[in-house]
Subunit: 773 residues, 2 copies
Amino acid sequence: MATLGDIGLAAAINIITAFIFLIAFAILRLQPFNDRVYFPKWYLKGLRTSPTTSGAFASKFVNLDYRSYLRFLNWMPDALKMPELELIDHAGLDSAVYLRIYLLGLKIFIPILFLTWAILVPVNWTNNWLELSKATYSDIDKLSISNIPQGSHRFYAHVVMAYAVTFWTCFALKREYETVAKMRLHFLQSEKRRPDQFTVLVKNVPPDADESVSEAVEHFFLVNHPDHYLTHQVVLNANKLAKLVEEKKSKQNWLVYYQNKYERNQSKRPMMKTGFLGLWGEKVDAIEHHIAEIEKLSNEIAEEKDNVRNNPKAIMPAAFVSFKTRWGAAVCAQTQQARNPTLWLTEWAPEPRDVYWPNLAIPYVSLTVRRLLMSVAFFFLTFFFIIPVAFVQSLANIEGLEKTASFLKPIIEIKPIKAFIQGFLPGIALKIFLILLPTILMIMSKFEGFLSISRLERRSASRYYLFNFFNVFLASVITGTVLEQLQTFLKKSVNDLPATIGVAIPMKATFFITYIMVDGWSGTAGEILRLKPLIIYHLKNFFLVKTEKDREEAMDPGSIGFDTGEPQIQLYFLIGLIYAVVTPLLTPFILVFFALAYVVYRHQIINVYNQEYESSAAFWPDVHGRIIGALVISQLLLMGLLGTKEAASSTPFLLALPVMTIGFHKYCKGRFEPAFIRNPLQEAMMKDTLERAREPNLNLKGYLDKAYLPPIFKEAESDSEDDDDDDDGDKKWAKDNVLVPTKRQSRRNTPVPSKMSNGSSPNLLEIQEKDRP
Amino acid sequence: MATLGDIGLAAAINIITAFIFLIAFAILRLQPFNDRVYFPKWYLKGLRTSPTTSGAFASKFVNLDYRSYLRFLNWMPDALKMPELELIDHAGLDSAVYLRIYLLGLKIFIPILFLTWAILVPVNWTNNWLELSKATYSDIDKLSISNIPQGSHRFYAHVVMAYAVTFWTCFALKREYETVAKMRLHFLQSEKRRPDQFTVLVKNVPPDADESVSEAVEHFFLVNHPDHYLTHQVVLNANKLAKLVEEKKSKQNWLVYYQNKYERNQSKRPMMKTGFLGLWGEKVDAIEHHIAEIEKLSNEIAEEKDNVRNNPKAIMPAAFVSFKTRWGAAVCAQTQQARNPTLWLTEWAPEPRDVYWPNLAIPYVSLTVRRLLMSVAFFFLTFFFIIPVAFVQSLANIEGLEKTASFLKPIIEIKPIKAFIQGFLPGIALKIFLILLPTILMIMSKFEGFLSISRLERRSASRYYLFNFFNVFLASVITGTVLEQLQTFLKKSVNDLPATIGVAIPMKATFFITYIMVDGWSGTAGEILRLKPLIIYHLKNFFLVKTEKDREEAMDPGSIGFDTGEPQIQLYFLIGLIYAVVTPLLTPFILVFFALAYVVYRHQIINVYNQEYESSAAFWPDVHGRIIGALVISQLLLMGLLGTKEAASSTPFLLALPVMTIGFHKYCKGRFEPAFIRNPLQEAMMKDTLERAREPNLNLKGYLDKAYLPPIFKEAESDSEDDDDDDDGDKKWAKDNVLVPTKRQSRRNTPVPSKMSNGSSPNLLEIQEKDRP
């Protein structure tokens, strides 16, 4: 059992680790040659140019200004300075709302901290149950619920606190839901014109012997939406084209690599083998080979492009249908079109960047089967993943390694190395599995046929959370593999489950404290270092980069990663809520995590991440739902725990809590969720009217014409024909959307303009407009 | 243990009982003075007039034509003759589809009967497990799964049969769902113009300081549906008015009663006491007293009517909004109107007859609470109803009775009477509770705030089914009160539940066979006798009826009673599916029930029931869902049963069944359910276009103007002002809708015109039209 001292030591170690990361970051980020790793967002916005273009040679790579090192933690207040409205402008609503999850953590747990420390810590501490029971115990246990004698009336304090925690959490959740819903509606309302506002995605266009898909779509909507239909874009199967373009890009990279190599050492033409991974096959001149290959691919791409455009088989039974007004689009997206509810399915189109193109052609019938298959697969993945991992582990022993790689034998035979490998090898299969898990989950979501990247990420997130819940949380509480647990659970009564888990909860407090410090504190501090992108960027920079444009491409800003990040936060909500009443000592550790993560991710969002799409915070209902779930779980576990404490008189009072919480959830669902799913006609009409008054002569058709052409198509186009005027409209839109003029000057430190400059003042106006009844 | 002989005896008794009912019915229905009890539907349609107006005096009351008695079972083929399309015309789609539930039972169980008898009966019979085990057993058990030895490979036959049953049931269900969905769409399509096609019910109109509700509604829809909005009717709180009108009607009935009494015996003016139930108080002249009271009430009604019309507090924040086109109404019903999703809620308006007026004003927030409360209440009602019943039983003992009603003491003290009361009294509380249960469930549904009678009935039906499942089915299988079961279940593992119940299943076969015969056979045969309406009609006829109109009002045609009837059928589906594989002997009993009930209810629907509303078979998804539920339960129980039979090798093969069944259900939900909830725009547009071509000068506003005035309002109006021209429009519509001219001649026997006459030929045309791609 860990004492307070042990915890203190562990905390010290993790704080020091976190500090080392932060200092390393503070130093690295000041070096000009890392600028593109730590400030890619600004480059992408065109507000920062390479520092290498000016100044002395040394200062191009190393920052020699010693004063800047003194203020090495300055990025923290800088990251906090940017007001939220400007943040939305700068990084989009998704990012701004994502940060609010951390803030919500702070809002929920700070009052809980004060309450529980003021009431429960004295209540727990002033008992001597553990002393009397003569069990081994630590100081931490003296502060926890374990120290209360069986059947004591003091448990009423915990019951009351459970009510307080529930009420406060629900209150915070409701306020937050309200705010986010308002932010979303305001964001949608104040947005510039976007193609998806006018567009509806139509799936399952029925095949017709006499008409092409395009004609069928046009006729159907001209008949059924005669006053509103404007134009449409059929969905083309460009998956093969995308593959070819991808291949060409990779070959081009290699060409550049070999050219660079040749430039540095002109005495020798670089050679390569044509076989698998360049390991065998005929030896050829690498540069010439690649030039020829690229030529070949370019021809193939041109051919495939023709094919996709003209071959009716490449046209999928789906289309993006655009309307004359937002009202028309909102109506079409929310209504059923045809008598057969599996035909002419309409939904609000995701914005063009958010569309996941390969899934657009999956027929309706196979969707049910696919979802069913994936639920079964996920069940097995969660509960039986340990079987293949164990199998690989049994293969990956030292003898096997010696056999397959006999040249390594002399090295492996050295004792300390052998010992290290023997200790390390079994774990590696599990580690690799866990690293691959988000990718596996994402592939599963893609297989299920969701049509937008945001929905894919949300689906993966919810699955990742479930996996974490069973394999991280439950597996830590009840030691043993999940498979064993499953057997235990099936054999036990439903009634006993909360008790079985509940009893184990207080004993695992120290484990979770350590977990929070390692994963939450050091992990978050490590995130800001961006070691992997840093290394890859410098490798690319060395081998591939020739022009400024290449350097731009070598940058990897990354994105928030909702599918892995949010489930991690949710795990902290779960642990925090469960221990809030049981072991109040844990709450401050959770709080430190939320505070640190908030600052770090705010910095990353401002300076690094480049969100690929904008879903306007469509993920909030998921976030809300999972916190509610954590709350209910914490209530059930507390009931189970108190049930075993012979506190029969106080336990029944807890019964109302889960019922009330679920009722609250239903209320919130009805009250706020529609704002995240449907598009109210009132809003649409308001925007239409405003627009008609402002721009009566707008050429909407020209604006929407190419908006939903598959991106790979445009890319291939601009690639082979070097920017013909086809996609100008779309490019212009993209530019309109991204470029926001600001008066930024400084470049060395993170520049944060905090004044509400011109760029954001229209927002203010629109808020006033919105707030009018 | 019952032998085959015992079952045969019980069957004989029940068949005789059923025959007695049927013969009694055959005789009673031929008597002219019962005509209005057994053929009210024809009177209501105006196709039959009282036989008392013509012929000899005796033949007015008694049928003296002996030949008609010889064909006393003729009503059966007569009931079956009417083709379905004509039935829909005659009684509405709801009734026609309701009959299809019985047909579906026949469709599902006839092939199952052949299959299981051909395969399972020999497989079961050719074992001697029961002989060897020396347990007491009967011939029935020899035919059931109990006769297979532990761990036998013969269980594979049952597994295969379980698959066959599941596939066949799913196939039948899918085909039926498809047919019903088509019938519904066709019905909606071929219907005459109805106000609800153009109308949307808007709830939660936000209060506005400057505008009345009516103005707010008009402005909102003029702004947000400028091209489609036509008119609206605010909802008036006429609950008090309704109460007054009701009271007046009752007083009028009493007045008529006293007047009749006085007429018969002119020597004595009838007197009455004014106090409670006429038991005490001042003695007054009954006729004068009632005339005065009616006068007073008439004034109050007039006053209240003015009040409702002009007092803004009587106007509820809800309105029926009508549109110029069906397309506009369909759009408005399916979309979200306002930014705040709890304001301006729209839904497709129920047809005027179907609206449940008192619930129109319940605010949105209280709905969640009301539903939550009712779920909790229903939980307690289901599992703890036995507690108050037992309490009442403990009070209603013989001593208590003697105390409260001491004048009865001499009678009660007589031995046989005392014994009878002692045996009878405890049961009476339970019996009364069970009789009241549907009413209680209906009150609960009303409290939940549903807005149409059809939805109220559907909600009550699903609750009644759950109650039956726990308190009839489960309580019969596992002997003991449900409360005890609940405790057992909570203490047992989830895994053990199917086994616990599954093992008890084969032992209860004889019980359920008896249950089917008593409740299903005799009960159904009793339904056709209509004893209660018969008695009440003749009582009313004797005391109240003076004019032909009074006689019309004395008729009580009743209706299908979906809220009690459907759950009963579902119980048979459940029992049938569970025993299909376990005890094939039970299936024929189920089949007889379905066949008998089909004929009986078809007769009743044609001749008796007068459906109060038309929901266009909106209940089918519920029916489908409950049969799927029964299927899954039967699969789980079979798994549990086989698990205990040491048939470890065959049980896992069953695992896929529930998964597949649930997958099938999800598929059906996606494929067919929207047809029951949403109104496709394509259909709406088609009807609009047709109508515009046929009647270009239609005055729709005039047609819709008073359609959604509360009925009580019209009633009060026509009552006091004797049919002013206000509600002519609506009356005309009602007439349009109900009166279908047929060439009916015969009056004595059930007249069933079977030719597809003019009335139904347009349907055929429309079917052809519909089937075109």
